[in-house]
C-alpha cells in the first residue's frame, strides 16, 4: 500500500496532539476518578496510561535509535508492509466503532504497578518525546528504515508502520480510558 509520507506523518502528529489534549485534562481529575475500575478485570484510566508507558519504555528509545542511525534520507512515498499494515489496522476500531478485544502480554499489564498522578506526567512526557520523533521522522526514509518490535526481535517493521501502529495503539487505550 502506497501512502504519501507527509500526509502519514501529519496525520500521526494530529492524532498525537489530540491524545495530548485529552490526557492533559486528567491533571484536573482527582485520584479516585483516575483509579476508578468498574470491575476487577477492566483497567482504570491510570492503568490504561501505564500500559502505554510500558510500551513507550521500549518503543521510544528503539524508534529514536533507528532514526538517528538511518542511512536513507526521506522519500515522498511510504510503502506500508504486509505485516506492518496488519498490526496497524488491528489497533483500529471496527466499522461500527467498537474495538476488538485483545489480551495484553503479561509484561505490559499495569494492574500490579503502583500508580499515582506521576503516571499522567510520565505519559505526557512520553507524548512530547513522540512528537519530537515524528518531526525527526520527516528527515528519513520511512520504508527502508527498519525497527524491532516488542514481542519479537526476529520481526522487523518499516519505521512508518511502527509509527502508525504505535500511535493507533495509544489512541486505542486512551479511548478505552475515556469510556470510564
Amino acid at each position: 500500500m502506497k501512502l504519501k509520507t507527509d500526509e502519514v506523518l501529519a496525520d500521526l502528529i494530529k492524532r498525537s496532539k489530540k491524545v495530548q489534549d485529552i490526557v492533559s485534562g486528567y491533571r484536573l481529575l482527582n485520584e479516585e476518578l483516575l483509579n476508578l475500575k468498574p470491575n476487577a478485570d477492566s483497567w482504570s484510566k491510570l492503568e490504561c496510561l501505564e500500559h502505554l508507558n510500558l510500551y513507550g519504555d521500549f518503543y521510544l528509545p528503539e524508534i529514536e535509535g533507528r532514526i538517528l542511525q538511518a542511512k536513507r534520507p526521506s522519500w515522498h512515498i511510504f510503502k506500508s508492509g504486509v505485516i506492518g499494515n496488519y498490526f496497524a489496522n488491528l489497533m483500529q476500531p471496527n466499522g461500527n466503532g467498537t474495538i476488538k478485544k485483545m489480551k495484553s502480554p503479561e509484561d505490559k499489564n499495569p494492574a500490579k504497578s503502583e500508580l499515582s498522578v506521576t503516571t499522567v506526567e510520565r505519559f505526557l512526557k512520553q507524548m512530547e518525546h513522540l512528537l519530537r520523533l515524528l518531526e525527526m521522522a520527516k528527515r528519513v526514509d520511512l520504508t527502508h528504515t527498519k525497527t524491532s518490535i516488542s514481542i519479537s526481535k526476529m520481526i522487523k517493521l518499516r519505521l512508518g508502520d511502527t509509527l502508525r501502529f504505535y500511535v493507533y495503539h495509544i489512541e486505542r487505550h486512551v479511548a478505552q480510558g475515556e469510556r470510564l
Binding site: 513507550g56 499515582s116 498522578v117 506521576t118 510520565r122 512526557k125
Partner: protein, 175 residues
C-alpha cells in the same frame, strides 16, 4: 542561638501530617515552603518519561524543599513524597521575611538553612561524578549512617544511580 530562633519559628508554623506515599509537593506546583521534618522520612524525585529519579532524602530533624521553586517562585520540577507516616512543619518564605524584618538575627538562621541546602546539592553532585558504585555508596553512608534503617533500598538504589541488584551485591561484598 540559632536553635532557639528555629524553635520559635517552628512553633509558629503549620504542622502537616502525611500518610505513607502522600505527596507534599507535586510537579508543576509553585511551592515556597521549607519543610522541617519532625518525624518520618520523605524523598524528592524527578519523574522522567521512563522512570522516577530519586535525588534527595529528608530525615527526622532535617530540612527539605523544592529548592528552585522556593528560590525563584517557578513551578516545581520535583515531587516530594512521604516514604512512611511523616510529620513536617511548613515554614513559608513569607514567614521567614516577616521574622527577618522583626529581628535581624533571623537572617543568620535563614542563611544557615540555605547554606545547608546548598552544601547538600554539592555533595550530591560529587556523588554523581564518582564513577565507582561502591565508592558512591560509601560517600553517602559516611554522611547518612542511618540510611538503610530509614529508607527502603529501592529508593537508595535510584538515588545512587544503580539497579537494586547492583546495590545488593555491593552491600554483600562490603559486609
Amino acid at each position: 542561638m540559632e536553635d532557639t530562633l528555629l524553635r520559635e519559628l517552628l512553633t509558629d508554623s503549620r504542622m502537616l501530617t502525611l500518610p505513607k506515599n502522600q505527596f507534599l509537593v507535586t510537579e508543576g506546583v509553585v511551592d515556597q515552603h521549607i519543610y522541617y521534618i519532625e518525624s518520618g522520612a520523605v524523598r524528592v524525585f524527578l519523574q522522567t518519561e521512563f522512570e522516577e529519579l530519586t535525588i534527595r532524602f529528608g530525615y527526622k530533624d532535617s530540612f527539605i524543599t523544592s529548592l528552585s521553586s522556593f528560590i525563584n517562585g517557578t513551578s516545581s520540577e520535583f515531587y516530594i513524597q512521604a516514604i512512611r507516616g511523616t510529620q513536617v512543619r511548613a515554614i513559608s518564605k513569607q514567614q521567614f521575611e516577616t521574622a527577618i524584618n522583626t529581628d535581624i538575627r533571623y537572617l543568620q538562621l535563614y542563611n544557615a538553612i540555605l547554606e545547608g541546602l546548598v552544601i547538600q546539592q554539592l555533595e550530591r553532585e560529587v556523588d554523581l561524578l564518582t564513577a565507582s558504585p561502591s565508592e558512591r555508596l560509601q560517600r553517602v553512608l559516611k554522611r547518612s549512617p542511618r540510611l538503610f534503617q530509614e529508607i527502603p533500598s529501592k529508593y537508595i538504589a535510584s538515588y545512587l544511580r544503580m539497579t537494586p541488584e547492583t546495590l545488593s551485591r555491593i552491600r554483600k561484598i562490603n559486609d
